[in-house]
């Protein structure tokens, strides 16, 4: 899963932090830290759906699944199980 973590991190850094990953920890909340807004979450969802061939259901759009690198990785693990 370390590869998945890196893929997610690179996507966030390149698309929302303009290459500067200062302050982005694995537990950092994307919303609370102002890294991603609602448009950004949709972009993250689209990315996950394409990259990992999954479908993110509407009721899965919750912070517990998508609001930090750790949460996204854990969510993808659950989806793959």
């Amino acid at each position: 899963m370390s590869e998945v973590r890196e893929i997610i991190r690179v996507f966030i850094v390149e698309n929302f932090l303009f290459g500067n990953e200062d302050g982005l920890g694995d537990e950092t909340s994307f919303l609370d830290e102002g890294i991603i807004d609602s448009t950004g979450i949709l972009e993250l969802v689209n990315f996950c759906e394409e990259e990992f061939s999954i479908t993110v259901e509407d009721d899965e759009l919750v912070p517990e699944n998508l609001d930090s690198i750790n949460n996204v990785v854990a969510y993808l693990q659950r989806k793959a199980a």
Binding site: I36, S38, G40, E60, V62
Partner: protein, 528 residues
């Protein structure tokens, strides 16, 4: 409506409700549940602290804060001290903040740890700021040339009674910067009278009472968010703050759990809600949801119809129209006419007159297009330190909205476009909104913006930037569908598919940034 008699200043909304309902919960945010009595006491304490920091009548106090209890305390606390609240967009970076702070010269800035890095990079000392009050500060500020004080320390004094400072109704209460999606941001000056009169009108047509509970997902720095706060505090209702609209499932669940009676959004709020939320699954659980309201720009017929189908049958829809310059609201469509007046923005709210004028300032006939010009006690005092910009929109007729449209025989108004958005292709003057509606009506796209870009031959040519609903949908398919409804000269020559349209924090589409998107793609994709 009797209690409104005693409300002549913005801070009276809070003071009046604290007197009538001291123990009633006024604000819910995550684990916080604050009563009117508690909020009023803290706002009074803050007002005293601000006065101790040197704030006097007319001094500006800038708020750079996310929606939270401290925002509400600060908003009312500043006006209690006689100051002018200037809430700034929380998305601004140092380059965007500097010109606004230079123009405002605020005596005090109130912010939170989330913005500490940005504030440090902005260098507040260059703007003669005398104090920075921070909610939950995390960084070291030992080298700051002004005091940096934890907000919590300033709202814990023993003295918490109302201050009773004499403030004129005509005094400035707030300066709200327009989103600046077209051109330089302008600080809209609103007096207490502007805000109070508009707040009371809104309470009246929405039939708001102390039983109302509003879900707030729009930022308070945006005029519509501000009016959600003021209207509910004016009637002694409650607000539920949820800053996680990016995760709509959590918002919908909380609406059911807290028995919310009202939800408000801009078009993109509803587009997102309908596209990516379990709204339909919750239809049976939203028993308390009395109404949904929409303002902040034109919402396509398709989204309105879909919204009506998705909401519980008892939930009414209020379509509304306004401007920051009008303290928020100018017109609304009563829910009973939602279906047969679906494309309308309704009739003026109490206290507002709206006329359609031609370029010479003459009122046009029914059905003829002209500019909407509004008058009423809610119309702003002007733009802060921008007299030229003020003169261009305010005159003896009232406020020139820049919106074009017409009125029907029953007195309902219809917006057909923006004066400054008209695109001239060859000899045709084209209204992008009409074309955007056609794109939306195809059912293939989630959002659409149509822009005019320079063209040597035609003057301008049309380009559409759209977010497709499904991955398999192609540019050609969308254009083919539009070609069935549009004459050739209105059909964009190019369609750019994007994952999302750039938006402001309040959810409005940033047309300027859409231009950048086209430029960027044109320069990186050979032959495009």
């Amino acid at each position: 409506m009797g209690r409104f008699t005693y409300q002549t200043l913005t801070n009276h909304f809070l003071e009046d409700s604290a007197k009538s309902f001291p123990d009633k919960v006024a604000l819910i945010h995550e684990d916080v549940r604050a009563t009117y009595g508690q909020i009023n006491a803290k706002a009074n304490q803050l007002a005293r602290s601000l006065i101790n920091q040197g704030v006097t009548k007319g001094d500006r106090v800038a708020l750079i804060l996310e929606n939270c209890l401290e925002y509400v305390i600060s908003y009312y606390g500043v006006t209690k001290a006689g100051g002018v609240v200037a809430p700034l967009n929380t998305d601004l970076k140092p380059d965007g903040l500097r010109p606004l702070l230079g123009e405002l010269t605020p005596k005090v800035v109130i912010s939170s740890s989330r913005f500490e890095r940005i504030l440090k990079a902005t260098d507040l000392s260059t703007f003669k700021v005398q104090a920075l009050l921070l909610r939950d500060p995390k960084l070291k500020w030992s080298f700051a040339l002004f005091p940096v004080l934890p907000l919590d320390d300033l709202i814990s004094d023993e003295e918490s009674s109302n201050l009773g400072i004499q403030i004129e109704e005509s005094a400035l209460a707030s300066i709200i910067y327009t989103s600046g999606s077209t051109g330089k941001p302008k600080g809209v000056m609103l007096s207490h009278c502007n805000i109070v009169s508009n707040t009371h009108s809104i309470c009246q047509y929405l039939y708001l009472t102390e039983k109302d509970i509003q879900m707030v997902v729009l930022p308070f720095f945006y005029v519509m968010g501000k009016s959600l706060l003021n209207t509910h505090f004016a009637v002694g209702g409650a607000i539920v703050i949820n800053n996680k609209f990016a995760f709509p499932a959590t918002v919908i669940k909380q609406m059911a759990d807290e028995e919310v009676t009202g939800f408000s959004g801009v078009p993109s709020t509803y587009a997102y809600l309908l596209h990516r939320s379990p709204l339909v699954d919750y239809r049976g659980k939203l028993d308390s949801l009395r109404y949904c309201s929409q303002a902040g720009g034109h919402m396509s017929r398709r989204i309105k119809e879909e919204l009506q189908r998705s909401l519980p049958e008892h939930t009414e829809i209020f379509i509304m129209y306004g401007a920051t310059e009008a303290s928020a609201r100018l017109t609304y469509v009563e829910p009973g006419r939602f279906e047969d007046k679906m494309d309308s923005i309704g009739k003026p709210i109490p206290g507002v007159t709206l006329r359609v004028l031609d370029e010479k300032g003459q009122e046009v006939f029914i059905g003829q297009t002209g500019e909407f010009v509004a008058a009423g006690s809610n119309i702003m005092q002007g733009y802060w330190k921008q007299p030229k910009a003020t003169r261009s929109v305010l005159d003896q007729d009232g406020y020139h909205t820049g919106d074009l449209g017409f009125q029907d025989r029953e007195g309902y108004f219809y917006v057909t476009g923006r004066k400054d958005n008209l695109v001239k292709v060859g000899g045709h003057r084209i209204n992008p909104q009409e074309i955007e509606d056609v794109f939306m009506a195809t059912g293939l796209v989630l959002e659409a913006v149509v822009l005019g870009i320079p063209d040597e031959l035609l003057g301008q040519r049309l380009v559409a930037v759209v977010v497709p609903r499904g991955e398999e949908c192609s540019e050609k398919e969308i254009l083919n569908r539009c070609a069935q409804r549009l004459p050739k000269h209105k059909l964009p020559g190019k369609v750019k598919l994007v994952r999302a349209l750039p938006k402001s924090t309040s959810g409005k589409i940033e047309r300027n940034m859409c231009f950048e998107l086209i430029k960027l793609q044109s320069s990186t994709i050979p032959g495009s």
